[in-house]
Symmetry: C2
């Protein structure tokens, strides 16, 4: 093997992996947007074949030898090539340890579990989903053992989504959050004047909301030639390459802010992918580096920018133009207060910025217990209700609004949830650093967020997966991750909103 | 190799081919429905990789040996297995003769040509498309030589879409058509009272037209759990398997019949795929057998049923309900006459049933000349105009409404067009046979076309690609293809409509 032929093989391999990912992504996007109701079976067959082929293409001796050869010749590689090899080796060390039939069976299980979960959620029928979740948990535990039998299985899971993350780090992080959030929530409930957001629950026609989405994407300077918007039950972002990104939203006619913040959130994810460097295209590095860093970008736009008073001042005239009757008598400040109303609630994705992390803690603790086999799947509804009562003080009326509300577990994602909280905390630290270079409020007031996007591109987006999450923060902020930025941001913001000294 | 292992390999191979076809189909569907504008490049890369992989998967020694082994053991195969081998061997004999790099380059050329054609049509800019068309024609000529150098290259092309079809057969067929159609059109233009269809050109809002599409699909007894409807610039039907079929339409607010007949036409294609037998799923046989037979099903519903007086009587009340003002003062008979108005025109897909085949003849003659190298691509606009004048008596004002109007050539399809005319002729013969078993008018009047669909399922659909086109007609009608049914149908229908002796 010459270094030239090895590099060509490296390129071809990554190209193929990208093509398979594009193909399965397109099939997935179709399935959640326009596919007719009873088409899951054929899709499952196709995805089964594709995952088997992509497994065979990657988890084989030849690839092992190729990666070994390139690591031996590390001195002849560019920094990017070395990183490609490093990341592929990480993938290889995991996937090659799963026997092929287990891998294919697991893909099929996930495909089935997702449609079962959809129906179970609709019908408040946890029992129908439980056997699938049991198998998913069992498989994740088994896979964790294959990947690294010396590590706690939940740490192995966390690493899938946030390289370098451990329960130890999370315990400290969540403890610190709790110390700030819990007393603050209590003060808001007992000492503060409640915010009136009743005007958000009028009738807001979908057609005008669609126009508002277009406007928001324009404000965020999202390039529509390379980023589409669709409608799905659960909003998400998917990209086929950096020039082909899609976000989705869901319109609720009884509340325009649901879709508004979905668009801003997913728009943040989209900007990250759109901003990765051209030279990373069709390689293993052509994606945001981790779920936590990805969520930092989505939540930076959704919360720190999107729920700031300057942003509301900017967009409120457009809202008034589109919904003159619904917003009669409302001003920007009233709207700003309404979108920041904090109140313990049942549904994670509808939670306000302050109580949100408590929803994550509930999931984090349950996932830990599941991976340690300290709770049975059948007990989850009761455990869920108990923890929601403990952390948020709310009573869970049914599983649809309880343990069945999120799609993650049905998709095999155990260890994903903490990324959301972590992402929020990252974003506060990133924005704090951004303030040294940019007058953020003035930029927002100007109506064009491009300078903010360009700052993020320069310091975060363009690196794609060149850097691990810790290094992204270090590279961007010049210091390691520190959750204090986030707790201080939350304290200051919500004390001001609720007028608490 | 044992027969069992060979049959397993045969099954696996077809399964993989179906999965690739599903994947590329999903990417295609995305590209024409929701993909953002500037995303063709990344899609081209992915399709390039997938077509290379599927080429490698199929055009190799192992597959050749497998097929040879199974043919040697033909006595141990079921009828279906033998047919699978036969059809795969046909594919193999063609595709394996194209050098892999030429094949991959051609797929890439097609991907590029399609987006160039889109822009060229929009901008009336034939010159920008011409170099692509030259390369496509050249590749088709070269491939025809690879496939069968003893056969006329255009016959090789025709066989891609209609197995067994030759120029000799088509010349006879088109001559016969001309003898009926040309004098009839002349009589309509000179002797008959012109039909008033002005009421079709009011304002028909898209939202109500969408409801009408749903209604039409219900009347046609199309199972919506397995068949979706989307919107694209050019209506088409695609299927991922028999339980996952999609049709598309395009709404024109100035004429509801355009989408109406697109839905009925594509609905006919969809019914064919939805009706193939379960046991053919995931095999080479799980599709309609040819373009001609496929068009016979779409045009049977579009024209023979959809433009019959009984069908208009059935659906007219729904139209009146959806468009009360637009259709004030119009009755079903007037509507029936309007949708059958015959008039030479510029655009094939808008042509009436009678003049339609003349549009095909123009394309047929040009394709023959292209494949025989008797015309240069650069001369096509002039040749097109001359032939349109000769056959239809119309002046072509620009290439957008001339040689650039159809997508077929940009997609590499040379030899496809005759299938449309042939399909129309097949459908007349099929319906004539159907009358022996079913009172068609009474069935339509009942409001449920299911008995007609079931008759077609039993005699045509369920066979998928088990039978070649000639055998489909023989099996369904008990006699070989005879265009007289079509010419007699046209004569009788249009003489009645235009009150000619």
């Amino acid at each position: 093997m010459t270094i030239e032929s090895a590099l060509q093989q490296l390129k071809d391999l990554q190209m193929k992996l990208c093509a398979f990912s594009h193909a399965t992504g397109a099939i997935y996007l179709d399935s959640v947007t326009v596919a007719p109701e009873d088409t899951a079976a054929g899709r499952g067959e196709t995805l089964g074949v594709l995952s088997k082929l992509s497994y065979e293409m990657f988890a084989n001796e030849e690839v092992a030898k190729l990666l070994a050869f390139l690591r031996e010749n590390a001195d002849k590689l560019t920094r990017q090539q070395a990183r490609e090899v490093e990341m592929l080796q990480r993938d290889y060390d995991e996937i090659s340890k799963i026997p092929q039939d287990e891998y294919v069976q697991y893909r099929k299980l996930i495909n089935d579990a997702q449609s079962v979960w959809h129906k179970a959620k609709r019908d408040n029928d946890f029992a129908s989903f439980a056997p699938y979740l049991e198998k998913i948990v069992e498989a994740n535990r088994r896979f964790a053992g294959y990947f690294n039998k010396n590590e706690h299985p939940y740490n192995v899971c966390l690493n899938q989504y946030e390289y370098g993350l451990t329960m130890e780090k999370l315990d400290i992080f969540f403890d610190k959050l709790k110390q700030t959030i819990v007393p603050l929530i209590r003060r808001i409930q007992t000492e503060a004047k409640q915010i009136d957001d009743s005007f958000l629950h009028g009738h807001y026609p979908v057609e005008a909301q669609r126009k508002f989405s277009d406007y928001l994407m324009e404000v965020m300077s999202i390039d529509r030639k390379h980023c589409g918007i669709g409608e799905t039950e659960h909003p998400f972002t998917i990209h086929f390459n950096k020039y082909d990104v899609r976000i989705t939203t869901k319109y609720h006619e009884d509340d325009p802010t649901k879709s508004m913040y979905s668009v801003i959130h997913e728009g943040g994810h989209a900007l990250y992918e759109l901003g990765t460097a051209d030279e990373l295209m069709y390689t293993r590095l052509a994606n945001g580096t981790s779920m936590g860093i990805h969520e930092s970008q989505s939540r930076l736009f959704e919360n720190i920018i999107g729920r700031s008073e300057s942003f509301i001042n900017l967009i409120f005239p457009k809202l008034q133009e589109l919904f003159p009757e619904q917003l009669a008598g409302v001003d920007a400040h009233k709207f700003y207060l309404a979108v920041n109303k904090s109140e313990p609630s049942l549904i994670r994705i509808e939670a306000d910025e302050l109580t949100y992390c408590l929803h994550i803690m509930v999931r984090y603790e349950i996932e830990k217990m599941l991976m340690e086999d300290k709770v049975k799947v059948s007990e989850l509804p009761a455990v869920w209700a108990a923890k929601m009562k403990e952390y948020l003080g709310v009573d869970v009326p049914d599983d649809t609004r309880g343990v069945l509300q999120d799609s993650h577990w049905s998709g095999g994602s155990i260890g994903y949830f903490p990324s959301y909280a972590l992402g929020s905390a990252y974003s506060a630290q990133i924005v704090d650093r951004m303030r040294q270079d940019i007058d953020i409020e003035a930029t927002i007031a100007s109506g064009n967020l491009r300078p903010i996007v360009e700052w993020l591109e320069e310091r975060i987006y363009r690196f794609g997966s060149m850097l691990d999450p810790d290094d992204v923060i270090m590279n961007c902020c010049g210091e390691p991750f520190d959750p204090t930025y986030f707790t201080e941001y939350l304290s200051a913001k919500f004390k001001a909103i609720y007028d608490l000294d």
